[in-house]
Symmetry: C2
Subunit: 207 residues, 2 copies
DNA sequence: GACCTTGTTGGACACTTGCGCAATAGTCCA
DNA sequence: TGGACTATTGCGCAAGTGTCCAACAAGGTC
């Protein structure tokens, strides 16, 4: 049977959604046009009618996933007036965003970046977006006197990199490190970077 | 024509070498049996005569590359009696090992780990090996009184993760961070972890 | 109602992949 | 020299890939 007819914008969004579902299930490298079409309940030709190449589609789907996480984190931070609270909120939602499937997509994106130009551009842009989100909070905190930090952009790169590096070990091979430890270590490091006393960012609650 | 006849051990090594060459050129995911055979100057059937599956071959080739780096770093550290000198040597050779191609293999391995069991096992084992190499030095330094560190295993995970997370940004997408900055930041972090004064590990020279 | 625009189909195409297997050729020993 | 052993071949197979395109059908317009 034929899939219901959609407007170009709707259909494009539907394709991206379907691609994302498949990516979360099989990983970025193992996502095929046919799988995406089947997930969407349509033919495979339709996918190429909206996306010139697979590369483009994968990049768009990855962008959607990463943007959702980024927006969720940014929004949850918006709710806190205090920069210290914002940092707590950041770690709480960032760790949640990394959970399960999501972080595997980042691993895929970083590896595929060397082979898929569109993925590289997207991945880079989103990494910078995360860094700038963090740098913004830090600068604000320095302004209010909550934080002491001479290099907010650098500090945010370092905090994110430690977080990513640790999460990587958790996701890629289930090594001794569990998620709770990753969170605690990262928070402790951030406290040092921002001139806070040990434990002032901690004990946010359940993970 | 027929490739020269080799003993099983020789041939196995030759296959691994060839596979590594292709991996360095095309990346792990894009390495095929036929490419390996061509690189070696033999038929594709021969590869499967020595490796039951592609998964196994990729894992073996990755292991070879990573072991070479690990051994080189370990050996260069052996030469220094002082734990502080050993740490300097570690950073010097680790950063060099990450250069260019080598780190891309780690990115590939981490991403492929979810799909290729043999790669996951190898990657995990080698990551732990790096961590233990570092933990050993730290423990020694704590013993001699050069370092102050209450948790050498944890500290080595954190130092390595920061290093990997930063290097990742450098390799995956050429973001603002260059290799020199990665080295400086990691060294500075290690100094803090080990209770050293700022700059006591730095200025190792050219990178 | 007819008509045209356009979202949608489903298969063809050319290519690649890992893998298996009978045939072949090199090497060493009796 | 002959024979056995085995490293090596090279093609075939089945399953998969992205990409393309002529045909089809659903919507809106007159």
């Amino acid at each position: 049977m034929m899939a219901i007819r959609m407007s170009p914008t709707e259909r494009r969004a539907a394709i991206v959604d379907a691609a994302l579902q498949v990516m979360l299930r099989n990983g970025m490298a193992a996502t095929t046009v046919r799988d995406v079409a089947e997930q969407m309940g349509s033919s495979s030709g339709l996918v190429h009618h909206y996306f010139a190449s697979m590369d483009e589609l994968l990049a768009a789907a990855f962008e959607q996933a990463a943007m959702l996480d980024l927006d969720a984190t940014a929004e949850s931070m918006q709710g806190c007036a205090d920069p210290v609270e914002q940092m707590r909120s950041f770690f709480g939602t960032y760790i949640r965003a990394e959970q399960d499937w999501a972080f595997q997509l980042w691993l895929d994106a970083w590896a595929e970046a060397s082979r898929r130009p569109a993925v590289r551009v997207t991945s880079q842009r989103l990494n910078v977006a995360w860094q700038q989100l963090l740098a913004g909070v830090i600068e604000e905190g320095v302004g209010t006197g909550d934080f002491v930090c001479t290099d907010p952009p650098g500090a945010s790169w370092r905090i994110l990199s430690l977080l990513d590096g640790l999460a990587l070990q958790t996701v890629a091979h289930r090594v001794d490190l569990d998620r709770g430890v990753v969170l605690r270590w990262s928070v402790a490091y951030a406290e040092r970077e921002l001139g806070l006393t040990q434990g002032s960012l901690g004990a946010t609650g359940k993970v």
